[in-house]
């Protein structure tokens, strides 16, 4: 037995079920009535979010089968213009006995009106036509927050017309995305080029075991769209780079930096400052975290504090240092809070300070920060030549390509064949490098950053391939 849920633009009839072991069959047909809430109705129109209506409708029927022990269930919903007396929806269920059949039929029509994204526009004998909520209206969904004097209907509308981009769907990004979408932010973007990994599930609460191996941005957007169909969720399933940043950031009102690693954090800082988009920045380390709000040209940015960031190896990351899920959860939630405060002009967001919290003993410090007029990102200073380069930038350098991975790694993954690799395993590294510009590569870009930094100290023009060779293998390399 498989349940059937369909949408039809043609006139409909109650679906016919046959089940030899069922004794109670109930068909329900909903028809267009000539009045609603005292107003004379002359006709109406149904519109659906087809894809979601079909999946949600099917899920509802399967749920009814389990709940009432049905033998079969089917439902068809009419779309398009309908006249008085036309059938709008027809539900048929088959159960062992009449009692379950009546109850199941009532359950399906009640739930259908609440959950399945189909909207009805009524045409009245007098006055303009009106959309009637089958799915809940904004005032149903957000009543509890609209009640707050700081939000109100105007605030809710402002949230509904806002666009927020979350960069990094990890430990910080997952709770931030959930709270932004739940709050009714009109458009929520998700930028992440990674796939779900089982070792991150402890803090990436939008994902579970079934999602392991899937593209994070895509699966997160599917989950959020299902949970909050009235929010527009946009997936950007790519890693943010110098090349694509401005295009992805364009059009958003606010950005949340939920990335992992200093390189992406400083890249995002530089591009947000460049494009002039405010962002909420957070980072965690074990039981601690930092959070601050940057409004370009008004507040200090990350480079006012740290003009040239260290490479990631020096400060630890979640993989090396370890982290508990709730540290990320707390800070991601705080980022969503700062975002909503900024969008609605509530309270005093962390624009002038960095907040540091240690969950071990709940010690908190707020550190006042000021703009540096000589800042290389938002002031008069010049940006230091970056140590790490993307593949495309590296190709343009006309450099010698040095692979410092060990022979066993090279055997497993030789890397792109479009450049001539000089293999110099780190374990037997003896110098002896060719003259000219060098691009150093390893598997993930950590060892190569160390080698490139060392070579620079020796006065060489050296760069490290960002993300390493494994980072390229996942993508199409030109």
């Amino acid at each position: 037995m498989s349940v059937r849920f369909s949408l039809s633009r043609e006139p409909i009839l109650a679906p016919v079920l046959s089940a030899a072991d069922a004794g109670g069959f109930v068909d329900f047909v909903g028809r267009v009535r000539n009045s609603n809430e005292g107003k004379a109705v002359v006709g109406l129109e149904y519109e659906a979010y087809d894809e979601l209506a079909l999946s949600e409708g099917r899920a509802l029927l399967e749920e009814a089968v389990r709940r009432f022990g049905l033998m079969d269930a089917a439902c068809v919903h009419r779309l398009g213009p309908l006249k008085i007396g036309d059938a709008a929806v027809a539900i048929s269920v088959a159960a062992p006995h009449r009692r379950q059949a009546f109850a199941a039929c009532e359950y399906v029509i009640d739930q259908l009106k609440q959950r399945v994204p189909i909207w009805k526009k009524e045409h009245y004998a007098e006055g303009p036509s009106d959309w009637v909520g089958i799915s809940p209206t904004p005032s149903d969904l957000y009543r509890r927050q609209i009640t707050l004097p700081e939000v109100g209907c105007a605030g809710q509308e402002r949230l509904g017309s806002s666009k927020v981009l979350v960069v990094g769907a990890g430990g910080l990004g997952c709770p931030a995305l959930l709270y932004l979408a739940a709050a009714g932010v009109g458009q929520v973007g998700i930028c992440d080029g990674d796939k779900v990994d089982c070792s991150n599930l402890h803090r990436e609460i939008l994902f579970g075991l079934p999602e392991v191996g899937q593209a994070k941005a895509i699966t997160a957007s599917a989950t959020l769209s299902r949970m909050y169909p009235h929010v527009k969720v946009v997936a950007h399933p790519v890693r943010l780079t110098h090349e694509n940043a401005d295009e992805i950031l364009g059009g958003y009102d606010l950005v949340l930096d939920c990335t992992e690693g200093l390189r992406p954090k400083f890249l995002l800082n530089d591009r947000c400052v460049g494009v002039g988009i405010p962002f909420v920045q957070a980072s965690i380390h074990q039981f601690e975290g930092q959070i601050q709000v940057v409004i370009p040209a008004l507040t200090s940015c990350l480079r006012c504090l740290f003009p040239s960031p260290p490479t990631d190896g020096c400060v630890g990351n979640c993989a090396e240092s370890g982290v508990l899920g709730f540290t990320a959860g707390l800070f991601g939630t705080m980022q969503a809070a700062e975002a909503v405060k900024l969008l609605l002009g509530i309270g005093r967001p962390l624009t002038e300070e960095t907040l540091l919290v240690d969950l071990r003993d709940w010690s908190t410090i707020k550190v006042r920060r000021e703009r540096d007029p000589g800042c290389p990102a938002c002031g008069s200073g010049n940006m230091e030549r970056p140590l790490e380069v993307e593949w495309r930038e590296a190709l343009a350098l006309n450099a010698n390509w040095i692979d410092v991975r060990e022979p066993v790694e090279v055997a497993a993954e030789p890397g792109p064949t479009s450049v001539d690799w000089i293999r110099k395993p780190l374990s037997t590294f003896d110098g002896g490098l060719p003259a000219g510009t060098l691009v150093i590569a390893c598997a993930h870009g950590v060892r190569s950053a160390g080698v490139a930094a060392m070579l620079r100290q020796q006065g060489r023009e050296a760069y490290s391939l960002a993300g390493g060779i494994d980072g390229l293998v996942d993508r199409t390399v030109p």
Binding site: G168, G170, G171, L172, G173, D257, C258, T259, E260, G261, L262, K265, A282, S283, I284, H285, Q286, E288, G289, Q290, L302, L305, F306, P307, S308, P309, P310, D312, C314, V315, G316, N317, C318, S321, V323, A328, T354, L356, D358, R360, D361, S363, I365, K366, V367, R368, R369, E370
Partner: protein
């Protein structure tokens, strides 16, 4: 001979890990925050170069040349990467 002053130092993230403490009271002959960092780096083997470290005194980020005063609360803040 320079006399020593008493200050409090708080450590965050990688510094807390490397020092093994969140906070300590200490006596220092360092005149400025950069001298203090050099002293602490030597004593505790901190790996971060001074240019990668920000110090805050009494709740505000300060320039490296800021002079220390008795009773100052100094916070060592590294850039943090996790997400």
């Amino acid at each position: 001979m320079t006399s020593k002053i008493s200050i409090t130092v708080r450590y965050f993230a990688i510094f807390r890990e490397e020092r093994g403490l969140s906070e300590e009271a200490l006596e220092t002959s360092a005149q400025t925050v950069e001298e203090l960092y050099a002293e602490l780096k030597l004593a505790n083997g901190f790996r971060l170069e001074p240019k990668w470290v920000r110090l805050a005194v009494n709740g505000a980020y300060v320039p490296a040349t800021r002079h220390l005063a008795p009773g100052d609360e100094v916070v060592l803040i590294p850039p943090v990467a996790g997400g």
